[in-house]
């Protein structure tokens, strides 16, 4: 038994040695490097090739107005936009001093030494040379910001030294009011409204061929005010609907100057009407519909100007459109319809 045990131990040892020699070499590590694919973005970071400098700037966008029936509305949303310029936390007082002092690492670089020799280091940086907890805050601008704008921002926002335990300087985002206006206009929240029409036959809601179909958009808006703001600056867009274009298959396009007039008994004329020339009876029934329909598209055109907390002079923005659709059954009847 004893001998057997010894043999077994020896065999095991040999086996381990064999197995050990047969093990593959350790896998090469992944060495991260400049130009490598960025890590998957986390919240607030851009995706793809874009590399974020950190969280974006939150813009508050408020849309105020009232519907065509006089009901006021106010929508608020927050929009994340890429940062432009800000105060960023830099090195500790100790690290900054050690790096930039005469004889420090920076001075081994001709470029950085020349930078220092031109008096561009943080004023009074020697005073914080032993502080390992306080930090410098520097003006920083994202890569897409021009050098001229960055320079201007830096001159307006000199470096600040913040001792440990004291609040960091307020983040003064430097957003161009014109950019804020674009954000406001892009994110204005309009009530979609509901497209109505008349004739609207009982039971089917169908209109009829070769007769003016009065159209209006219920509970929509024709003018709004959108304000986009960050602390310290706001831009306000005044937008108004200037025309409504109606289009549908087998109907001539029509254009109105407002959202149309809701039908009322006895009404014989509307500035917002289309005439269908064919019945939809032969068309297939679309998903979600009970009858064959034609899609009626109401496209509202908006014109807008903007002002800002920095400039009260209205400036024009590009025309924008919003679209609302409705599925309209179109019937062909032989009798004369009396509204």
């Amino acid at each position: 038994m004893l001998s057997g045990r010894r043999l077994g131990i020896t065999f095991t040892a040999v086996l381990l040695m064999v197995c050990g020699s047969a093990l593959p070499a350790a896998a090469a590590p992944v060495v991260d490097n400049k130009g490598a694919e960025p890590t998957p973005p986390t919240s607030g970071e851009a995706s793809g090739e874009e590399i974020s400098a950190g969280a974006g700037t939150t813009v508050d966008v408020v849309t105020d107005g009232s519907t065509t029936t006089g009901v006021p509305f106010s929508h608020r949303k927050q929009v994340e936009v890429p940062r432009r310029c800000w105060y960023g936390q830099g090195m500790t007082g100790y690290s900054y001093y050690e790096y930039w002092k005469l004889g420090g690492v920076a001075r081994e670089s001709g470029t950085l030494d020349a930078f220092a020799a031109q008096g561009l280091l943080h004023p009074g940086y020697e005073d914080h040379g032993t502080d390992t907890e306080g930090h410098w805050y520097d003006a920083e601008c994202a890569a897409h910001v021009s050098g001229a704008e960055w320079l201007e921002y830096r001159q307006a926002h000199p470096p600040v030294y913040v001792l440990a335990g004291t609040p960091a300087p307020a983040v003064r985002e430097d957003l161009d009011p014109a950019f804020l206006a674009e954000v406001a206009y892009e994110h204005m929240q309009l009530p979609a409204g509901t497209v109505r029409w008349n004739p609207s036959l009982d039971g089917t809601g169908a209109t009829v061929v070769n007769l003016e179909t009065f159209v209006w958009v219920e509970d929509s808006a024709t003018s709004v005010q959108v304000t986009a703001s960050v602390p310290g600056v706001w831009s306000r867009v005044e937008a108004r609907m200037t025309r409504l274009t109606l289009s549908a298959p087998n109907a001539h396009d029509a254009m109105c100057t407002d959202m149309g007039t809701p039908y009322a008994a006895g009404m014989t004329r509307s500035d917002c009407a289309v005439v269908f020339t064919r019945s939809t009876a032969a068309l297939p029934v679309k998903d979600g519909q009970r009858y064959p329909t034609a899609t009626l598209t109401a496209t509202a055109t908006w014109e807008a100007t903007w002002t800002s907390s920095l400039d009260a002079t209205p400036q024009a923005l590009e025309v924008q459109t919003t679209t609302t659709t409705a599925e309209v059954p179109v019937a062909e009847i032989q009798t004369v319809v009396t509204r």
Partner: protein, 199 residues
């Protein structure tokens, strides 16, 4: 062009001198600093021509240095200084403070990630990094571009499990990068750096 760069600096210096207390050691500081403050009474304008040289102690060799002057030399120098601080970061797994001047916040983020990831994985990089900077071009709108070729064949790579050749860790070819810079008055700064195949 250099005169244009120097003039705003004088203004900055005057403001700085006017607002800064004399460089007297504050009471209670005993260990450091001991160096003379760097802000001098008269700023030293940058000499013309390329300033950056190879740094054998750091392990950076600048190859094929072109004969440039003016803004092109400034651009070259900024890139060369950036590459040195890049290698310092790679070999120390610690973000170089020089990036605050030389690199956009986005590139600083990249390099901070590189230092953190490599450090967390116990990777050590050493040896010689050869870099050549070419095709320096000024766009005329305050931006510039250039091509950087990074050669790691003289570098060594290791982690707790062993050592590796450059090829084994994906550094076996001369890597080509296209960089863009922006002119912010007294300094140029790298805005972006994108991998563009091999050299």
């Amino acid at each position: 062009m250099r005169l244009r760069r120097t003039m705003p600096l004088l203004a900055v210096l005057l403001v700085t001198v006017g607002c800064t207390s004399p460089a007297v050691e504050p009471p209670g500081l005993e260990a450091t600093p001991t160096a003379t403050p760097s802000v001098s009474a008269s700023p030293t304008p940058r000499p013309d021509g390329i300033l950056e040289e190879s740094d054998p102690a750091l392990g950076v060799v600048l190859e094929g240095v072109p004969a440039l002057t003016g803004d092109e030399a400034d651009v070259y120098d900024t890139i060369a200084a950036y590459e040195k601080e890049y290698w310092r970061t790679m070999t120390t797994n610690s973000l170089s403070p020089g990036f605050e001047v030389l690199a956009s916040p986005e590139l600083q983020t990249v390099m901070e990630r590189v230092a953190t990831n490599n450090g967390n994985n116990g990777i050590t990089v050493d040896g010689t990094y050869r870099v050549s900077i070419s095709d320096v071009g000024l766009a005329g709108d305050g931006t510039a571009t250039a091509v950087v070729c990074s050669d790691y064949l003289g570098a060594t790579f290791a982690d707790p499990d062993g050592t590796y050749t450059p090829a084994e860790v994906g550094f076996g070819e001369r890597q080509r990068f296209v960089v863009t810079l922006r002119d912010a008055g007294p300094t140029w700064q790298l805005s972006t750096s994108g991998r563009d195949g091999t050299c």
